[in-house]
């Protein structure tokens, strides 16, 4: 008999991710949906019931000898979170809990922080719900430290695949996670936190009913593990008192060696000299988020063409400010336009379509480069539901910021030879401590290439990775975006033997052999993370 709070789920066959980049078929009769809809229980009781339900679902997978993967918002561009067995829909697990002082470790209080800095969110909570809870419903208001470009992901999906944002000195979304409630088998679940940064009190862990594990290596390994370590049921997040971001767009910067050198060194005083109109970073108006958008067709050395720099400064909330997550979006290509463009380019073939792509891409790039918002806004008001819908491709790789100038030149050379129907953006992120976090460089630059999901674009992504290898530029590839170039050899080269060994050992330590089999998938095998 199926326990209350669980429904048998029949995924569409074939199943597609939100961005419709791939199709997948699950084994019939192995998928489940968890929810909180049918019981007159308190939220605390609902959470605990859901823990038992996740254990029950894992037990079913073990009994049937099938694999299982949690699916949150179905947001990833690659089948990183797909397995051949069943899916566990977790978006119905949408509870958020307040934390009081009795639920946090004395050591945490000694760091100068309080319960107000923490929030415990269930795995299925979407970033949009989290933003609303923190920025609008909570008093005094709070906010997350970093966000991806949109807000549809679930909190567990976001952290598990390394959603990064562009918080220059703060890090990616998962870098704000300080505790993980992980369901590791039909009878086991653990509370994971760093030994060097304990957060939860014994009372909190007793409430969970979990086994406490305070271990930096285990925590760092589980943090970015794309569902391979079990099912994340809840996460403890550190938040900030609400701040706003004041946006500036610089569209007349000269793409020069001097400018790129300043970017590569994150030399903010030099950037302030070189970027026309770049405001000073001073207390109360500090540089927080930095990104470069570029049109790979028109950008050229010592010219201002095709280069746009977006800077966001952290500013205090003025009295009377009302956070608004509504409003309309700037115009963006419709799914139908994207579909027609893809069809047209496929018909033309890559050779014939180069000039068409160049013309259309440049025109769409200029049309869609959004103006800076004049008023300061919160993270939740800026990074909202995605503007582009439909079959789009998004590929992202990370490099050390020191290697940014040569990397951009390689992209320019590639696009001069092979058409790329899309735009290039660079986001600057502080490096992560997660063992397999792709934002692994101390100062990471994430190069994003978003565009049509066409064969030509996929070839360009692959060529660029080959160019980086030829130039011996260390790189890593985003787990949650298109990542076809990843394979066993590259994963080993990217993270190194020691890190991969540590990640695998942590997995073995946390999961029984039966649970390891349940939480395996072809993507892990492809990347050499199973053997």
């Amino acid at each position: 008999m199926i326990p209350p709070g669980i429904k048998s789920y029949k995924p569409d066959a074939p199943w597609k991710n939100v961005h419709e980049n791939f199709t997948h078929t699950f084994t019939p009769g192995c998928s489940w949906l968890l929810h909180h809809n049918d019981a007159p229980l308190s939220e605390s009781e609902l959470y605990k019931r859901a823990t038992e339900n996740i254990k029950w679902v894992i037990g079913q997978a073990v009994k049937k000898s099938v694999t299982l993967r949690a699916v949150g918002a179905n947001w990833s561009f690659s089948p990183v979170a797909m397995c051949e067995g069943g899916m566990l829909q977790t978006k119905g697990l949408d509870l958020i809990f307040n934390i009081n002082n009795t639920l946090i470790a004395p050591e945490y209080i000694q760091t100068g922080k309080t319960h107000k800095d923490l929030l415990f969110a269930e795995c299925g909570v979407q970033i949009s719900r989290l933003n609303r809870e923190l920025e609008i419903d909570r008093s005094p208001a709070r906010c997350i430290r970093a966000s991806g470009g949109s807000n549809g992901q679930t909190v567990a999906g976001c952290i598990s695949t390394g959603t990064h944002g562009a918080a220059l000195f703060t890090g990616a979304v998962h870098d704000a996670v300080v505790g993980i409630h992980l369901i590791t088998g039909p009878d086991t679940h653990v509370w994971l936190e760093r030994a060097s940064y304990p957060v939860a009190s014994d009372k909190f862990i007793k409430w969970l009913g979990a086994t406490p594990l305070r271990d930096d290596a285990l925590f760092n390994a589980a943090l970015v593990s794309f569902g391979s370590f079990g099912i994340i049921h809840g996460v403890m997040l550190e938040t900030e008192p609400l701040f706003l971001l004041k946006e500036y767009r610089i569209s007349n910067a000269v793409y020069s060696d001097e400018l790129m050198k300043a970017f590569s060194k994150l030399d903010v005083p030099k950037l302030t000299q070189l970027l026309p109109g770049m405001p000073a970073s001073v207390p109360g108006h500090e540089l927080y988020h930095m990104e470069i958008n570029l049109n790979p067709y028109t950008i050229k050395k010592n010219s201002t063409e095709g280069l746009y720099i977006f800077l966001f400064y952290k500013v205090p909330v003025p009295p009377g400010h009302v956070v608004d997550h509504g409003g309309t979006h700037a115009p963006a290509p419709s799914p139908e336009f994207i579909w027609m463009m893809k069809g047209l380019l496929t018909l033309l073939g890559s050779k014939k379509s180069y000039s068409v792509i160049k013309k259309l891409t440049s025109s769409e790039f200029e049309k869609n480069i959004r103006p800076a918002t004049p008023e300061a806004k919160s993270i939740g008001a800026i990074f909202r539901d995605t503007r582009f819908t439909g079959n789009i491709a998004s590929f992202a790789f990370a490099i050390s910021t020191a290697d940014l100038p040569v990397t951009l030149e390689e992209i320019r050379k590639e696009v001069a030879e092979n058409a790329f129907a899309g735009a290039v953006a660079v986001r600057f992120v502080k490096g992560t401590r997660a063992t397999l976090g792709f934002t692994k460089f101390e100062n990471t630059s994430v190069v994003e290439m978003d565009g049509l999901d066409s064969k030509g674009n996929h070839a360009v992504f692959n060529n660029i990775i080959q160019r980086l290898e030829t130039q011996q530029i260390p790189f890593s590839i985003h787990w949650g975006k298109l990542n076809a170039p990843l394979n066993k050899g590259r994963t080993k080269d990217i993270y190194g033997v020691d890190k991969i060994k540590a990640w695998k050992q942590s997995r073995v330590q946390l999961l029984s052999p039966a649970a390891q089999a349940v939480f395996s998938n072809p993507f892990m095998e492809k990347c050499g993370l199973l053997d």
Partner: protein
């Protein structure tokens, strides 16, 4: 006139079909959430509506299926269904309705106050 009548009729027919097939997206809240994931661009819940424009009551109550309210709705009419409606003089009208239920709002307490 007799010569161009078939052309005019064909243009009217094609225009009618092309302009009648549609995708309408309705977002009820600013940043939509949902209680489960649908495949691809489909929302989580869907139903096929078979109705007639000659019926006096055409009402589908989606709200009652969502404990925490509706987040967004999408109505799709396929070209073939427009054609079917045209041929049956509106007695058979088929549309697909996709919708997402919103996630809850607010936060809870671990301990009873």
């Amino acid at each position: 006139m007799a010569k161009i009548l078939p052309t005019i009729l064909a243009v009217v027919l094609i225009s009618s079909i092309v302009t009648s097939c549609s995708v309408i997206r309705v977002v009820e809240i600013a940043s939509p959430t949902s209680d489960c994931a649908g495949s691809g661009q489909h929302f989580c819940h869907d139903t096929l509506v078979r109705t007639s424009i000659w019926k006096s009551k055409n009402k589908v109550n989606l709200k009652s299926t969502c404990a925490t309210g509706i987040s967004r709705v999408k109505v799709t009419t396929k070209p073939m269904d427009v054609f079917l409606g045209f041929l049956t003089l509106g007695f058979v009208v088929k549309q697909r309705i996709d919708w997402d239920c919103a996630q809850r709002t607010g936060s809870g307490e671990i301990e009873k106050p």
